[in-house]
């Protein structure tokens, strides 16, 4: 840097330029809106973490969402209007997701947003869409988004929430008098799952013998193991997600905790199970929104699987991926009913919609727009019992949709 020794002139200029800039700004504000794109394509923005630890789930989400769009377009679109899916990488970061959503709304003029794969990201998208009155179908687990503080009348929550997931798992894994030790990731998702389990435990009469909060994103769990072992629980309940889950279960098994307790998790993920060997997960019980094995008992699951296989050279749809399908399908069905993309009409249509596209009947509860749906409880199979590489789980239970497993509207803070 060379030094310069001027003071006053530069100040004048800069001040003048600040004013000029303000002027430019004001004149631009006065400019008329650039006309919306003339074509009548229905555009749906789809932010999802294509990079990062959940890239596999994100790619499955995209494939499922694209299938839903393709099916509508093959039938001639929504009331004759073609549908287009605009996929964006949110990098699993709330700030990034908010920016991408702003771009989708402001530049691409999307009619609705579907997507997200983390609680924080979905709340960021929710914040942006709520302020701008844009429809949003969120497809990631969260209890927070149901609560009145974050409620947006434009947002519909297609994914399961921790209360219903943990509740279903608890009802099938715990009995009266079961001693439960909790290992919980210390962030919103973990806390919400823990609350869900404890709520169910209270009803069942299962006892909590210990509770350990572990740092979110930890790689080593060895230092928690001695204490977990000393709790001598019947069930070790591990409320974390993704990589944390894989690492903590693996290490619990290494430390021989499986001999002592049954391992239960809120959510079993198809792709994360594949990332760890079947021996580690053998016998682990957890919840899910979708498993391809449903096809033997459910025609809509069979239809979804077949269409998905045909579109993706024989691959099967996975849990978080399926949200992409059910979420986009419900939105497009509502648009069909509403006769277009008029936001208020689509909201009314979504609130009245009964849909069954992959996992049995579903509908959105009026007060918090939570999708009332079935919850699966799965058990990870022994390697010897697996009939194919994707035959990972057996279905222990398929809880029918019911509002009783949700927190009530009053509990969430909605006026009754």
């Amino acid at each position: 840097m060379t030094k310069d020794i001027r003071g006053t002139t530069r100040n004048h200029i800069s001040r003048r330029h600040v004013l000029a800039a303000l002027g430019t700004g004001a004149s631009v504000v006065a400019m008329p809106w650039i006309a919306r794109a003339a074509d009548d394509t229905i555009r749906i923005g789809f932010p999802t973490p294509l990079t990062g630890p959940f890239a596999a789930e994100a790619k499955d989400q995209v494939k499922s969402a694209e299938l839903a769009v393709k099916q509508f377009n093959d039938k001639g679109g929504v009331n004759g209007r073609k549908v287009e899916l605009l996929v964006r990488d949110d990098k699993l970061n709330g700030g990034e997701a908010a920016t991408r959503t702003l771009e989708l709304i402001e530049k691409d003029k999307v009619h609705a947003i579907v997507g997200s794969l983390s609680s924080a990201v979905q709340l960021a998208v929710n914040e942006v869409t709520r302020a701008r009155g844009v429809l949003y179908v969120s497809i990631s687990q969260s209890d927070t988004i149901n609560e009145v503080k974050d409620f947006s009348k434009y947002t519909f929550h297609e994914a399961l929430n921790p209360t219903m997931t943990a509740g279903a798992v608890a009802r099938h894994a715990f009995k009266k008098g079961t001693k439960v030790a909790h290992l919980v990731a210390d962030y919103a998702y973990g806390h919400e799952m823990l609350r869900g389990f404890k709520r169910a435990q209270a009803a069942i009469g299962a006892e909590t013998v210990g509770e350990i909060m572990h740092p979110f994103g930890a790689a080593d769990y060895s230092t928690f193991m001695p204490r977990l072992r000393s709790m001598r629980a019947d069930v070790l309940c591990i409320s974390n997600f993704g990589r944390d889950q894989a690492n903590s279960i693996k290490q619990a098994v290494d430390f021989g905790l499986k001999q002592q307790s049954r391992i239960v998790v809120p959510v079993l993920l198809h792709n994360q199970r594949l990332a760890v060997s079947p021996e580690v997960f053998e016998g682990v019980v957890g919840g899910s929104n979708y498993y391809w094995g449903l096809e033997s008992q459910l025609p809509s699951a069979k239809a979804f699987n077949d269409a998905y296989r045909a579109a993706n050279s024989g691959a099967i749809p996975t849990d978080y991926g399926a949200y992409g399908y059910t979420g986009v399908s419900s939105l497009l069905q509502a648009m069909q009913v509403a006769g277009g993309t008029d936001t208020d009409k689509v909201i009314a249509a979504l609130e009245a919609l009964k849909y069954d596209v992959a996992k049995g009947p579903q509908y959105y509860r009026k007060c918090d727009h939570q999708s009332v749906q079935s919850v699966l409880v799965l058990e990870s199979k022994k390697k010897a019992d697996m009939k194919s590489d994707s035959d990972l789980f057996s279905i222990l239970a398929n809880d029918a949709p019911s509002e009783d497993v949700l927190r009530s509207c009053t509990e969430l803070g909605f006026p009754t």
Binding site: M1, R10, I13, G25, A120, L123, A124, T144
Partner: protein
């Protein structure tokens, strides 16, 4: 073990183009502002342009400490995040008007910078970098553990600014163009302020410390106080960037406090060129545009961005703007 020489931006090579350079320096603020006015119409989206403004301010503020004082901090995300959190909390939980919330965010960031600076400037070299990193991680942890204030891992929300009142005019702040030009005023102020600081005797002092701390001390500079002041000013500018991002996104992600965000600020600065006033801003621009454009092409965009970094270090170590200034403009 040799002591790590920190950030010595080359200065000799630039003296050749003294005239042009002095012109550039003389008009750097007005030129910058002109460029800023055009920015949203040149970039793929307005939201991206606002991000460039924000990170441009952050990087320029960061460079006050890094490029000009020669201290490599890995903790500046703490100031960006604190500015953003305080603004968001002030608006969302206390109903403070947005401009006061911005002021509070900046003051809060400045206070934190003062404290962190007082602790960390006692150490040197890579140890300084590590102390800043550790202290910033503590801030991250505090934000994670106080969800009733910060929203924890879910991020802070519930403080969308829809409209702002400017000299009697009501402006729709959700409109991206309005938002850009309002925030641009803040960015321009920040650039002007940094430019002003660099041209003051204080600016000479920090550069003297960067070039040779012992000599600066012998010359009678109070090195400790100057470093602390530089740290605080730098943190303050970054906090302003944070408050701007809070207004922009109406959301504060917890990640904004993470050390990886600090790393990103360093990378932007180096990419643009730490030896020049406007380099860090260019770095932020190029970094964000690369991410935006490449991530649309391929989910493997990181391999492209990473390779570009590697090639830059090998062949253009002065950064984009530094190279431009020395080569093209000679």
């Amino acid at each position: 073990m040799t002591s790590p020489a920190l950030a010595v931006p080359p200065s000799a090579s630039m003296r050749r183009s003294v005239r042009f350079k002095s012109l550039m320096t003389k008009y750097r603020v007005p030129l910058s502002i002109l460029a800023l006015c055009l920015l949203p119409w040149l970039l793929p989206s307005k939201a991206l342009a606002v991000n460039v403004l924000i990170y441009g301010v952050v990087a320029v503020g960061y460079n006050l400490l890094f490029g000009y004082t020669g201290l490599l901090s890995f903790g500046h995300a703490a100031f960006v995040g604190t500015g953003a959190y305080i603004t968001g909390i002030a608006i969302g939980q206390f109903g403070v008007p947005w401009y006061l919330a911005v002021l509070m965010g900046v003051i809060g960031g400045a206070l934190l910078a003062f404290i962190m600076g007082a602790l960390s400037t006692r150490t040197r070299g890579i140890y300084f970098s590590m102390v800043t990193l550790a202290l910033a991680q503590l801030v991250y942890y505090v934000a994670l553990q106080t969800p009733s204030w910060t929203g924890g891992e879910n991020g802070l929300r519930g403080f969308t600014v829809n409209k702002i009142n400017l000299f009697g005019f009501e402006i729709n702040f959700l409109d991206p163009v309005n938002k850009y030009y309002v925030l641009m005023v803040f960015a321009a102020l920040a650039l002007w302020l940094v430019s002003r600081i660099l041209n003051s005797p204080f600016g000479a002092a920090i550069e003297a410390i960067r070039e040779n701390e012992r000599r600066a001390r012998t010359c009678g500079y109070n090195v400790e106080r100057t470093k602390l002041l530089s740290f605080t000013l730098s943190g303050t500018i970054c906090a302003l960037g944070g408050t701007m991002s809070a207004l922009h996104l109406a959301f504060v992600p917890l990640d904004s406090l993470h050390y990886l965000s600090s790393g990103m600020i360093v990378m932007m600065t180096l990419l643009g060129g730490a030896s020049s006033f406007f380099g860090p801003f260019i770095g932020a621009l190029v970094f964000l545009v690369m991410e935006d454009v490449f991530s649309l092409w391929t989910s493997h965009w990181q391999i492209i961005v990473g390779s570009i970094f590697v090639l830059f270090v090998l062949f253009l170590p002065k950064g984009i703007w530094g190279t431009f200034l020395t080569r093209v403009m000679r």
